[in-house]
């Protein structure tokens, strides 16, 4: 291909990418940032300032909600890692070849089913008239219906369920690359199960662990449906505040500020997590 037609090809291929990224990603996000700096001072009159951010920091309910969202998201991430790691190890190292593919597909099933259906399933299971409550009554453990919904445990259970496969997939991918002889060598040198796990397996799986944790944390902090449906009025999730500002109060400026804060806050947490574990974004996510 000569130079001119090569250049033409690049321009033609670049155009859709450029339109997509600039019009739907870059400009809209710059847009909410600019909007978040506007303060309403009268009907149709605005001035630039940091009033919307000041409102956030002065009103404890707002930053409490953000903190709560962050803490819950970190908790969900840790729980997902602890539950998911043995499963990933089983799939990657212990299961036989046939079983392995089947189990891996089973893990992917929740991805194929709508978030709404999954949450609805948990509602049917957990609510006062739900299956678990009825079952426990039938076998006589409890005498009256018990409401398992609308509390933090329900929210955590539902969120862990929703994000589980995003932890398992990178873990399985990294663990599959691990040479079994590493583990054998560890045992031969007299390491106990715990030592082998702590000194050999976990360090090897670190890129997968970090990738999984980042994705799970971002998904959890940005989730909306699961906390609302399973936590009810008590969920106090930050995305709910953003929705309220936008749709219920029609205060777009404050809503935009909250959106920017959520983005900044989650990015900071991820950055901090990377620093604490001594990983970089390119050494983990790019590999996974």
């Amino acid at each position: 291909m000569n130079q001119d037609s090569k250049r033409l090809a690049i321009i033609l291929l670049f155009a859709p990418f450029f339109l997509w990224i600039v019009c739907l990603i870059v400009l809209p996000h710059l847009g909410i940032f600019v909007l978040s700096l506007k303060e309403k001072i009268g009907i149709g009159q605005y001035q630039y300032g940091v009033g919307n951010y000041a409102e956030f920091f002065l009103e404890p309910i707002y930053w409490n909600t953000l903190l709560r969202t962050a803490v819950m998201s970190i908790f969900v991430t840790i729980v997902t890692l602890i539950i998911g790691f043995p499963i990933a190890f089983y799939i990657a190292k212990l299961a036989k070849k046939r079983v392995k593919a089947g189990l891996f597909l089973l893990c992917l099933i929740p991805l194929w089913v709508s978030d709404l259906v999954r949450s609805f399933g948990w509602i049917v299971l957990l609510r006062e008239t739900g299956i678990i409550s009825s079952f426990l009554q039938n076998i006589g453990i409890i005498d009256a219906p018990v409401e398992f919904l609308y509390n933090d445990v329900a929210v955590v259970v539902g969120l862990v369920y929703t994000v589980m496969l995003f932890m398992i997939v990178p873990l399985v991918t990294t663990l599959e690359g691990m040479d079994d002889s590493l583990v054998e060598a560890g045992f031969n040198l007299g390491g106990s199960r715990l030592t082998v796990l702590r000194r050999i397996i976990i360090p090897y799986a670190m890129p997968g662990i970090v990738t999984g944790c980042i994705v799970v944390f971002m998904l959890t902090a940005g989730s909306y449906l699961t906390p609302i449906l399973l936590g009810g009025k008590n969920s106090q999730w930050f995305t709910e505040q953003i929705y309220d500002k936008f749709i219920t109060h029609f205060n777009w400026e404050a809503g935009a500020a909250f959106g920017v804060l959520l983005l900044v806050f989650t990015s900071l947490t991820v950055w901090l997590g990377l620093r604490l574990t001594g990983q970089t974004l390119s050494s983990t996510v790019a590999k996974g």
């Binding site: 291929l13 870059v26 909410i32 099933i109 709404l116 259906v117 940005g222 983005l263």
Partner: protein, 286 residues
């Protein structure tokens, strides 16, 4: 020594037991959501009142089946058209992107690659408000300055399509680019040596090679669009897709088994599409 006292064996069966419990946990809510579609009761709850298909096919209140519920069917049709548009658009742009990033070299390529992946990590709600604000700004600008009302930039189906397209395209790009990476460039060179034009090579050699990935990406895009809630919620106008209709029912009316019927229907639909994409990927390896 008996087997029950062997600590290694005991640990191993504990481990297997844990894996089994985990998969029960994965299956439980899906089974719960699906099975009550067939319970002959006004509530999706125990006790079991007998098997019925009323929640699918019954044509009158109070047990209005989903296929006779006009709002649900309308939502289903709207979701279908949105998903079709989103997958068509995102396959087109995804294929262009795949060629751009796999075949071309241009300045700031690494930076552009980061931009390409970013939509995946932005929370859906924020993506929704960002596009809502941006579209409204443009629409207001046109209205204030020239008195032109750009109706399509107000919350509605077009914005929903754009909103979903904005992050689904990342996924289709990654899927199609992974396939393009496996393409043996010598095939194209051979065709070139045989005197084929560039366009003809694209049409008869490269695109057919990419077809399984394009169809697979399309199926994934269709499903993600069909099931999307967070971004859609921010951009939706008066025509509500199925997930929004269903959510309204759940939140306001309280749930009747018709929601279980819809859930079951969606699960079967997803299952068929997932099966289709697995079969396609099998074909890809040959």
């Amino acid at each position: 020594m008996t087997n029950t006292l062997d600590p290694v064996r005991f640990l191993r069966s504990c481990y297997t037991g844990y894996v089994v419990v985990f998969f029960i946990y994965l299956a439980a809510p899906l089974i719960a959501a699906g099975i009550f579609a067939f319970n002959d009761s006004m509530f999706p709850a125990l006790p079991w009142q007998g098997f019925t298909l009323d929640w699918f096919f019954n044509d009158s209140e109070p047990k209005l089946g989903m296929f006779h519920d006009r709002r649900l069917i309308k939502g289903l049709m709207i979701s279908f058209w949105i998903a079709l548009l989103v997958s068509a658009l995102s396959i087109f742009v995804g294929t262009c992107n795949a060629f751009l990033f796999e075949r071309m070299d241009f300045p700031f390529k690494n930076f552009c690659y980061i931009l390409l992946v970013v939509p995946l990590v932005i929370p859906g709600v924020i993506l929704g408000i960002a596009i809502l604000v941006f579209a409204s700004d443009i629409a207001n600008g046109f209205e204030d300055n020239w008195g032109i009302d750009l109706e399509f930039l107000r919350p509605g189906l077009i914005l929903v399509v754009l909103g979903q397209f904005s992050f689904v395209t990342t996924i289709t790009t990654l899927v199609i680019a992974a396939r393009l990476k496996k393409f043996d460039i010598e095939l194209e060179e051979a065709a070139l040596n045989l005197g084929a034009s560039r366009m003809r090579i694209l049409r008869t050699v490269t695109l057919p090679f990419l077809r399984p990935a394009m169809i697979g990406a399309g199926i994934v895009a269709f499903l993600i669009s069909f099931e999307n809630f967070n971004t859609t919620l921010m951009l939706v106008g008066s025509d509500a897709p199925l997930t929004i209709t269903m959510y309204d029912r759940m939140a306001k009316v309280g749930s009747t088994p018709v929601l279980n019927a819809v859930s079951f229907f969606l699960m079967v639909g997803s299952f068929i599409l997932a099966l289709l994409s697995v079969v396609l990927q099998k074909g890809e390896k040959v």
